[in-house]
Point group: D2
Chain length 346, copies 4
Amino acid sequence: MIKAGIIGATGYAGGELVRILLGHKDVEIQWYGSRSYIDQKYAQVYQNMFQLVEDKCLDDNIEALADQVDVIFTATPQGFLAGVLTEDILNKVKVIDLSADYRIKDVAVYEKWYGIPHKSPQFISEAVYGLCEENREAVKKARLVANPGCYPTCTFFSIAPLAKKGYIDMSTLIVDAKSGTSGAGRGAKVDNLYCEVNENVKAYGVAAHRHTPEIEEQLGYAAGEQVVLNFTPHLIPMNRGILITAYAAVKEGVTEEMIRSAYQEAYDKERFVRFLEPGLCPQTKWVEGSNYVDVNVVYDSRTNRVIMMGAMDNVVKGAAGQAVQNMNLMFGLPEETGLMLVPMFP
Amino acid sequence: MIKAGIIGATGYAGGELVRILLGHKDVEIQWYGSRSYIDQKYAQVYQNMFQLVEDKCLDDNIEALADQVDVIFTATPQGFLAGVLTEDILNKVKVIDLSADYRIKDVAVYEKWYGIPHKSPQFISEAVYGLCEENREAVKKARLVANPGCYPTCTFFSIAPLAKKGYIDMSTLIVDAKSGTSGAGRGAKVDNLYCEVNENVKAYGVAAHRHTPEIEEQLGYAAGEQVVLNFTPHLIPMNRGILITAYAAVKEGVTEEMIRSAYQEAYDKERFVRFLEPGLCPQTKWVEGSNYVDVNVVYDSRTNRVIMMGAMDNVVKGAAGQAVQNMNLMFGLPEETGLMLVPMFP
Amino acid sequence: MIKAGIIGATGYAGGELVRILLGHKDVEIQWYGSRSYIDQKYAQVYQNMFQLVEDKCLDDNIEALADQVDVIFTATPQGFLAGVLTEDILNKVKVIDLSADYRIKDVAVYEKWYGIPHKSPQFISEAVYGLCEENREAVKKARLVANPGCYPTCTFFSIAPLAKKGYIDMSTLIVDAKSGTSGAGRGAKVDNLYCEVNENVKAYGVAAHRHTPEIEEQLGYAAGEQVVLNFTPHLIPMNRGILITAYAAVKEGVTEEMIRSAYQEAYDKERFVRFLEPGLCPQTKWVEGSNYVDVNVVYDSRTNRVIMMGAMDNVVKGAAGQAVQNMNLMFGLPEETGLMLVPMFP
Amino acid sequence: MIKAGIIGATGYAGGELVRILLGHKDVEIQWYGSRSYIDQKYAQVYQNMFQLVEDKCLDDNIEALADQVDVIFTATPQGFLAGVLTEDILNKVKVIDLSADYRIKDVAVYEKWYGIPHKSPQFISEAVYGLCEENREAVKKARLVANPGCYPTCTFFSIAPLAKKGYIDMSTLIVDAKSGTSGAGRGAKVDNLYCEVNENVKAYGVAAHRHTPEIEEQLGYAAGEQVVLNFTPHLIPMNRGILITAYAAVKEGVTEEMIRSAYQEAYDKERFVRFLEPGLCPQTKWVEGSNYVDVNVVYDSRTNRVIMMGAMDNVVKGAAGQAVQNMNLMFGLPEETGLMLVPMFP
């Protein structure tokens, strides 16, 4: 039985970790960390857990926690883990960080986009970027996994097959993203009130969203060249789900058949990435509550561009589900353990 | 391995049966019956099942089906099963009917409220009303289970503890219900279009809803007297969930403590009915996707009435989940097999 | 031209006052009071007002304001107006208070339910309860109008015709209410976040909601007897709208025809209360954005009860619209001036 | 008093025409045409119109109608008006067509994208494309106005200022659009059911949507060159609203200041197009129920692209509101008559 501790257990990603781990036969949650709700029963914060979780919320003392568990999930604000992580902790437990602290290899880029100094850059090179399908072998051996951001995950799966093959002109890449509101977190802000989000749609963080450098870095690895792109997220009146619509010019000589083959080849053996049949558009509802990413591509001969699409549950594959997938790899379990969640419809 | 067939597999309740049974380790679905989609791949109708279900939709030939499976679920319109059920079928397979055909013991009442003749009244007395928590032993021995309606299920759990104890005046009982739109089914009707339901709330079937006699019959058993009540359902702009708010006058001598004890006693050992702590109101979101019913009660000393509340996922405990719970009982499996679904939030 | 000032102009009711008054040909808004946004442009707080309102937000200095305008609307928290109102102010301007400060005639009842001391009880008896259809003549002469609460308004119109005729047993009255989320205000609270309200329904303030004594007082006047009832509000995932479903036993000798006649008589000449045709249920969407209240009634011969229903836009007829209707009366304008807003659908 | 007739009065655009025209002091609706609801009271189809509209629905006999009114609005399926329009009708009344029949000058393009033969191409060249802000003078003299599509309207206002100035490379233009569900019409289709749209987002009509050639034609006029672009619409779980997010490479020498000036110049004197302050993103909620289009632009120096954004109510400025604006021009009324609708929030 793997003993797990969660720091930041009362955010939406933390709550989803609890939901998934409760259904994981090899894991036992030992620590529900939540600075805001210390000593309150977890099931009072998340009433869905009534009679399922009897524990109270604990603080975020990662050193104490490291002595008690085998794996720590940090679903915490940017900078938290970087501020407390030590070699000693990493020697005791595996750490899966759902924040951005160790995702970006270039610390200057991190500090510029996140606007805070990085307090433990010495761990960045060691940290494995936990996109399981991409970095499976490295994850298996990792002490520290940087769990990817929600937008970068969905964007990567939508575009990577063509990037890797060199079929698209990466300098023309545009990523237009739509996200449900859980992505904005559980903080009490006027902008996230029901009446402000409902019956509304807007772009935000235009040309400035923090996931941009993460997307660029990962797609850069896939393409084998530096990538600079436009990424525009939009807030959608729904709880869960991310939809990516990406556009790029197709290189000369590339045919529609080559394009579809690239995706087939990339995802044929992947359990959690589903390449849809021609003509179908990914819909967030079809993956809700599951660890799937659904992708598809349309070639437009009029403009010689591809429209690449991906749909994902931002809280599952975009956060907690992918974190558990990483944990499974790190502990030598079958990758899908506890993750065979059938999407819920409607 | 239990072999299961579903007739009506492409309605919302049928789809949820598939979702739940795919996660049930002892069941294999053999037949996806859907008159409207014969020969189409099931995963094209419900794209969430892509790569999870490879089968095509079949017709609704229940006799052919009876030869191939151990249990048949009928998630069909009123009158379908009553029109095709035979002794021969019941000798071959167990049948769990999600329609109302065998729920009401008095055939005249059925025919009056449903407006159609009952074509096989000979099976009514045999059919067990599949409210598992209430009729556990009978369900275990049943060939034919009438799976309860969504409103009756949630209403019963909200009120029964007080009805059984004789603590409330049943003649004062009023049930005000709120349901998500999946309860209206997947038929293409203007009234159920997004733009008609969204940003709207209304009562419907006022003093005339078909679940009324079913509720009255079951609460009548609980109270040991004939019950006539008001039941008013409302359509709520959400996919899933039923909330019951019921009102009744409290009999003399009954104290708040007695009231809470009645619920505790009734549900202490029930896994799927959760009696909330004092002061908390059931919320549909806290049970979404799960087989739980959350109930609570408030005693109002000003009016000497109780307000009894219950929340449930209409598609799970109100339909497919309860059907699987019945199946578990009928096949001697632990009742919760495949049903330990943690509610999804948000 | 009537000069108007609004204190609390950046709450949802305040914003709606601005929307309505901008379309009112006889009014000019002179003061956008908002303690939270002083010196910010109003159109930056409510971007819908861009190029329509050039003013900045001012403070809530009611004395300064009284010197500059003809009418003051206070859309402020409970206790604000009671704490600052003076005879001097009332001598200078008319005041329409959207808070509860002067709605309840018995100051002890106010202090008990609102949990704060009333700082200017000397104005309570003078204040006119601004249910225009009920107190038209008194409103015309008033200096101080207590604009009714949203729930009380919709409840009153749904029930009053039968209460006045003595057709129902007031001791059996139960009011089950459903409200959109704008009723919860624009404060940043976790409970009102999009992800907490969306796909959810719950009761709140069970047996304890502050609008209870206001409803009881007004229905008491209508019935000519003291009224004690159950009032249970529910939070609905929509922006606007209140739906009332009320239940009461019908007195002996009262027929369905008498019941319908009572409503017809009450509302035949009322422009803003629409008594629907038999068989139709009020829907909040059909009155959205307008000053209408739609009501209807069903007589249930099985239980000998009536189900009384009313639908209204809580922000318009339940707040800002009714306030403007009161203002029109107070200034001798045709009651419907600026209020002939056609409901918006979808 | 202008006498107006509407053919297709029971669709969402038709209903909105009624809403707007009821508030227009110079118009009287004489004919509520609706093939599906002939002889039913209009207020039974749209219950919001109860006591506001007493008329019954009539058929779609345009010749009879032409004898009775001054202006005909056709809010009908593609091909209807083209099939019935005659010189005789145009000699009697002005016609404003909300369908696409006369929007596209090249009949071959129309027939290719709409898949039907055009039955009266002789009127195409005469028809004025009713983008009022663009073709004001021509509209004033028109007998036949082709009211622009919803997506083309919002797209045009978002992009045109830069296209006209030649500041962007039109061959790089990508338009990613998001629309509320009213755009899908009131037809009873499974895809538009509440449970299918709610909590979901998807692209549709990828590389194939019929508004593509209309957008290309109009932007082509603005740019003075042929335009071929990508247009991808998405379905959003909300009733109303269109948001455009468009991307293009900026030509050398063009500065951010030049870009903002282009918009200022274009819209400074336009009442219904609002160019937002720097840093603000258009939101559909801020224009709901109104005739406004809100636009803004962000220059991204990293990619040397502009992100052009526009928000609009698809049923108002994208359909009925623009139609009334055209009518105002055609009848010599101030353009904004009956259209000074303040956006409704929340």
